[in-house]
Amino acid sequence: MLCVRDLRAGYGDKEIVHGVSFDVADGEFCCIIGANGCGKTTLLKNLLGLIKPFSGGVAMNGEDVLAMNEKAMAKHFAYIPQAHTPPFPFAVRDVVLMGRTPHLGRLAVVAPADRRIAYQSLVQLGIEDLADSIYTDLSGGQRQLVLIARALTQQPELLIMDEPTASLDFGNQQMVLSRMKTLARSGMAVIMVTHDPDHALFCADRVIVMKEGNILLDGTSEQAITTEMLQAIYQTNVQVLDVTMADGHVKRVCVPFD
């Protein structure tokens, strides 16, 4: 579905991403991991059209993404930022409805069908009771869910997330990740940048490891998240262990040590 070919990008004259190529299929949950400054965020910004790449191509179902305007692009990709505080106390229903923006006409008239789609996004994430609440009054976890609902309301084919759980507590991180996992199961493709290899193990079908602007490895989470690989990209002492849970499942965990 998404097809990235030999993408070179950066800021000013400084090239940060040195020609990366990968594909993402329908319903695939793809995590990108790598150290600070390895080009993960630069790559995402190029996919979202926020900066123009130096060379290379991005295609979505065979259409050239780089030639699209913002509106066309927003129908393919939705961006889920970290939960944040906007300057004004918008109601949750208004925040979610803003996801319809790329589908609205010049006068931005919101039709019943738009409200219905927004409502379905709320139901899908189980937060329809929050519709009346004020976004700025919510907890970080709830805000993150509202932003995911807004992205779903955009009816994209691909969700793009940059560190969605960075400001959340332990419980909310798991909550948000498992909802994202459910979304991917229902057929939505997801690209998520994360700093936590445990999160990639928890939800990714596929992990892309980046180092210094190149793709070091592109494979399953079991292939990508190994002791050697984590030590190579993060330059720290870490051991990846397979532990047996109480119910007999084997889970892989990352344990940093001195």
């Binding site: 106390p89 918008f90 208004d94 409805l97 009816q155 084919e157």
Partner: protein
């Protein structure tokens, strides 16, 4: 991804009776047959997304505007009773059709239609302009403490007007120079913005500061050069703002650009909602932020420059009124922009009435808006801490 999602354009299948019931009371059952899940979900969606702007707030804003608008015709040095006012209007209309209308009172008609009517229209347009520009800028700059002056509109207009006053060019030129000065200053700020590539908002603010400083120094130089007995007082007086010398021609000159600017801003109201979440998010939701910003800046500068050109500097409206409006109707720009316009117009009309009535010499309105604006701001600030 979800097959149940209806195509855009197909309306949710609610019957007319259900829709009417929904409009009357969105929370009561709307007569949906059991098992009709589609209609039940449509109803649930309409309920969840029903706008909850309190009716009393809308009514209060509209009623205050109407009452203040009509009362302003009666107030002034030449006080009018309600029946003088009423028959004054009737006679004016009758006089149109029949120039020999016997009850036509030339003096009353002069007060109502030559003096008060243009002044009231200009005051309400200016109040609406400053408030709507302030509200728009607060969203665009993602900062509730921004006023319409931030890009240098007032500084540029002041410089233009002072230059015309210094050169003794006459009233019309003062207004033209003020208008051109305001538009030029903001244009310069937008051009300077291109120097900061990575953050358009920061670039704009920086450009605005630079341009304001530049034009303020220019105004100071003019003050220094101006004749202290004659020109300096008229410059100082102009800078304090006043609606005292408004006439029909000025009203006609600003009315079309003002309405054009208002329409442009109202058209962008939905995008202003999205823009207040930041540039990158707005772009990822399909908005060409550069073009929307240019439209908002152009329209705001147009209406503010019109106001400054005829009335001088009237401060505080653009900062205070949007907050008052937000406290009443919430932050959704769809409702906030018209509410800001109505409240801004009403507030400035009240202040102008006070300026006309309070003392035998008319008080410059800029002084009064600041005097009244500060306590007003403190009250709203204390009552409405949320979202600051």
């Amino acid at each position: 991804m979800n097959e149940e999602v209806p195509e855009r354009g197909t309306r949710a299948r609610l019957t007319r009776a259900q829709k009417r019931a929904l409009k009357r009371d969105p929370f009561a059952a709307a007569g949906i047959e059991e098992g009709d899940e589609f209609a039940a979900e449509a109803l649930a969606a309409e309920r969840a997304f029903h706008k909850r702007v309190p009716l009393w707030a809308k009514l209060a804003i509209a009623a205050a505007f109407v009452i203040i608008f009509f009362a302003s015709f009666m107030l002034g040095r030449y006080g009018l009773t309600p029946d003088q006012w009423f028959f004054g209007i009737v006679d004016h209309i009758a006089h149109w059709f029949d120039p020999n209308w016997p009850y036509y009172d030339q003096e009353l008609d002069n007060v109502l239609f030559q003096i008060r009517f243009p002044r009231i229209i200009v005051v309400l347009l200016s109040g609406a302009a400053l408030a709507v520009a302030g509200a728009s800028y607060q969203g665009m700059f993602k900062n509730p403490l921004v006023s319409p002056d931030i890009l240098g509109a007032s500084a540029g207009a002041s410089f233009g007007a002072c230059l015309a006053l210094l050169l003794d060019l006459g009233n019309v030129y003062v207004q033209v120079f003020a208008f051109v000065g305001g538009m030029a200053a903001v244009g310069l700020a937008v051009l300077l913005n291109r120097t900061v590539k990575y953050d358009a908002i920061l670039g704009l603010v920086l450009g605005g500061i630079l341009v304001s400083t530049l034009f303020q120094s220019g105004t100071s130089i003019i003050k220094l050069l101006a004749d202290a007995d004659d020109k300096l007082p008229s410059i100082t007086f102009w800078l304090m703002g006043s609606f005292a010398s408004i006439d029909r021609e000025q009203m006609l000159a600003i009315i079309l650009p003002m309405i054009g600017g208002f329409l442009l801003l109202l058209l962008e109201s939905w995008k202003l909602n999205v823009l207040s979440f930041g540039d990158e998010e707005a772009r990822s939701m399909g908005i060409n932020t550069r073009i929307v910003r240019l439209i908002v800046i152009f329209a705001s500068t147009l209406v503010v420059s019109c106001s400054v050109a005829v009335a001088g500097i009237v401060g505080w409206i653009g900062l205070v009124i949007p907050h008052f409006a937000r406290a009443l109707v919430g932050p959704n720009y769809r409702v906030l922009l018209p509410a800001s316009m109505a409240i801004g117009a009403s507030f400035l009309l009240v202040v102008d009435d006070i300026a006309r009535l309070l003392m035998s010499v008319e008080i410059p309105i800029g002084i009064l808006t600041s005097l009244l604006g500060v306590p007003f701001f403190v009250i709203i600030y204390r009552r409405n801490m949320r979202g600051w």
